[in-house]
Symmetry: none
Amino acid sequence: MAKRTGEKYEAIIDAAVRVIAEYGYHNAQISKIAREAKVADGTIYLYFENKDDVLVSLFDEKMGSFISQAEKELSQITSPEEQLYHLIKLHFENLEKDRKLALVTQIELRQSNPEVRKGINNILKRYLDIIDNVILNGKKTGVFHEDLDVRIARRMVFGTLDETVTSWIMNGFKYSLLDQINELTRLFIHGMKK
Amino acid sequence: MAKRTGEKYEAIIDAAVRVIAEYGYHNAQISKIAREAKVADGTIYLYFENKDDVLVSLFDEKMGSFISQAEKELSQITSPEEQLYHLIKLHFENLEKDRKLALVTQIELRQSNPEVRKGINNILKRYLDIIDNVILNGKKTGVFHEDLDVRIARRMVFGTLDETVTSWIMNGFKYSLLDQINELTRLFIHGMKK
Amino acid sequence: MAKRTGEKYEAIIDAAVRVIAEYGYHNAQISKIAREAKVADGTIYLYFENKDDVLVSLFDEKMGSFISQAEKELSQITSPEEQLYHLIKLHFENLEKDRKLALVTQIELRQSNPEVRKGINNILKRYLDIIDNVILNGKKTGVFHEDLDVRIARRMVFGTLDETVTSWIMNGFKYSLLDQINELTRLFIHGMKK
Amino acid sequence: MAKRTGEKYEAIIDAAVRVIAEYGYHNAQISKIAREAKVADGTIYLYFENKDDVLVSLFDEKMGSFISQAEKELSQITSPEEQLYHLIKLHFENLEKDRKLALVTQIELRQSNPEVRKGINNILKRYLDIIDNVILNGKKTGVFHEDLDVRIARRMVFGTLDETVTSWIMNGFKYSLLDQINELTRLFIHGMKK
DNA sequence: AATGAATGAGTTTTCATTCAT
DNA sequence: CATGAATGAAAACTCATTCAT
């Protein structure tokens, strides 16, 4: 029934980002999002199943394209060290280029209910797979330690990047994420290398 | 006005942990917590300012004592490597020994409103300070790299441990956190060492 | 945001009068008023800011129109004695024609909280102005005593009419207000005349 | 069961006056009154049936003695004009001498529930009887008009004095009640005389 | 396809009163 | 006599969702 495409579909998602960024997750009512998108409340339900669907779709649209891009770009790099460097760079660039979106996906949507969390985690799984592939590539090419536990390493990489971005937002975006790419890459590579 | 101490104070906090663990944050009504604690709804307000106060106090009581313990134990270790190892061990032991509490503090309370989040973050600051001190000790003793950015390293350590525990819970506690202590310690130390 | 007009706006106000008259101010819950008005509880909040707003609007709608009528009718009379007579007549007629409304505005709403009281008093100010004008007219035309203190006389007129109506209601409407118009007019005029 | 006498009985009533004057009727909780009276909450119930009883007793203690005094003093005056003058004087003096009490009895207690209102009205009946006697005396002695309706005149006198005092309080006590005695007496006597 | 008025379920908090000590 | 900890009922208001137009 829900259209999931079209001009208004995107208008609603973009309105949701702006409203959540401005008022916070707990004050982002459907009626506010509708007003911001210049549509009627009921119209949202022509494009989305329900409010949860708006939020998951928001994450999907905004992060899904980033993940696809990352998949594609990393597949064209062979060196695991360079892959890792590029992964971090893409991660940070993606969030630095739209602070409202960063705030929404990184902070606000984490307060959502279990249903939304589940949808978000499904999308993130593809991202975790990318990290896994970089680590596996590093092990296969003998750059990373052969006994390295991929899941443990993956959680280190993701957990670190995630915490780094969260801190950056919570501290008011007052320093540059990009400045930390080199040091983080070094920490990871030295930690994981043979 | 709120008493913040006594037998019932603890009974209410423990009841809150059980109720949130069983029903989830969004279904943990005051009346349910009161029933579980075998007190009247109004009694909760003799011991706590409001519902937010119950949740922040829960975090404070349960994590605050862990943090104090960590502060004390780490201060008796001089080697930064051993401090790091011990920190991870304490972190994991603390959460493995009470899975309900782990679920509540690590997953459910993160869905709470900004007021509660703020209270929780204040408590966590003390924990981040402990991590900082370990890293500083490593730099000072020449074990960790002199140019290591403490904040970046701190976020790596905290972010990794946090993500590790979250994954463990989301995957149904089906492996042991303690088994990962050695590898994580190694990853951190190799990453940070001179 | 509140509409403050329309069919349901009036239905809610009329329902509020009936509910308060029947159950008393302290037992007139929003849900009871909504049921009586045959709308959902939430619908009331589409037309009114909050419960206080319902009560003040009730007074405004019901007494405001009476005051406007009085203003208009008295402006067409030149003799202060006749103005006074007519004012009392209008006052009593207005309350006799709807006993439920009289009970609500005269007795029940006086038990309301300070916020509502303030709203009611603002509306009543216009009525006190009408009384003032009658007295001033009497002084100007030499009918009333030139040294008469308008404020003192106004309080006599309003206080007397108010007490008269209150007694009538408290005694179960068992006599006619209209029968007292002549005597009250005489008391006031003799008291105030030159 | 309720003692209705003793040192604490009076302490509680005086505390109630202070608390209601300071916080308003709707914020005068039993626990606040108890704290102000330096007794335990439960102690109030050793001296009073319930909260309503505290309020009615307050009115009874404070206004009852005034009424007895008025009864006594007026019985010693024979002239109806002088009785009326003295009645108004006593009324105003009584309220001017304790502004907190005036605020409580004249404004705040009027917001109370029907039960308290009933108790207050019972006490006021004795006062209305005093007014009646003055008017009857005036009619009997031929000073007031033989056809004067006592009830109508009584409502004029009481309503006027009541409204005068209410205005005085609502306007912040910023003028003197006593200054109005002469004019009010004149208004009444001219209105009622033969 | 779009609207937006209407719905009604659901929860925190207060406070008069009790009663074991 | 006095205490004060404990009780638990009660009500305004929000907001996701529907559906007649």
